[in-house]
């Protein structure tokens, strides 16, 4: 263990959340819960990034009263990356949900294992 685990508690939480999401994505049989797991996983990464940009005692990177010294603001780069990332995760969620609807209308179940069993039974 390194020296900074307690100082990095936010990152530790994000790692735990990431793994919860990951486990959900791997183990849940219900597709909707899988998708929620995916969203949790993505949010965890964004939390990690946002923690990385944070500097204690500084404010958000919006210029106030024309002060443009580095000492005043936090690092703006992670925020920008997270903004991009959120869009990606929304798009992916919409795609996955529409796939779910399609699958449900065809197989009338949300259980991926059951679907693959049905598939193997019916088709060679």
């Amino acid at each position: 263990m390194g020296p900074n685990l307690l100082a990095n508690y936010g990152e530790a939480v994000s790692a735990i959340l990431f793994c919860i999401g990951f486990t959900n994505l791997l183990l849940q049989t219900n597709l909707i819960k899988k998708i929620i797991g995916l969203n949790i996983m993505d949010s965890a990464i964004y939390l990690f990034l946002a923690e990385k940009g944070y500097i204690a005692g500084r404010v958000a990177p919006i210029v106030v009263n024309g002060v443009t010294s580095t000492e005043a603001y936090i690092n703006p780069i992670p925020s920008g990356l997270v903004l991009t990332g959120i869009v990606v995760s929304v798009s992916v969620t919409a795609l996955m949900l529409s796939l779910t609807i399609r699958l449900y209308t065809r197989y009338h179940t949300l259980d991926l294992d059951e679907i693959s069993t049905q598939l193997k039974k019916e088709g060679r």
Binding site: S43, E51, T100
Partner: protein
């Protein structure tokens, strides 16, 4: 402020775990919604208002609405009560 952050993070973990174990899909989605709201509060604490506004509009608003429509579409919601009244939250 640190204590507040720690409480929020604890809430995040509780939400994530309870999503995994909730039996009812509607509950899972509602919990996910609160997860997003907590996350956006946390981002305010981390001095990233841009992210907070986006997460509130997207995570708690749009994503949840899409989840609800999906649930409705697959007839998991039996009653005709629409859950979409939560939307104005993204203000």
């Amino acid at each position: 402020m640190t204590a507040f952050q720690i409480i929020l993070m604890g809430l995040l973990i509780i939400c994530a775990v309870s999503v995994s174990f909730s039996k009812n899909l509607l509950n899972a989605i509602l919990i996910y919604m609160s997860f997003s709201l907590v996350m956006s509060m946390l981002w305010i604490c981390l001095e990233s208002p841009d992210l907070a506004i986006t997460e509130a509009a997207v995570g708690a608003g749009i994503t949840s609405v899409l989840f609800f429509v999906t649930l409705k579409k697959i007839r998991a919601i039996e009653s005709t009560e629409p859950e979409k009244k939560e939307e104005p939250k993204d203000e």
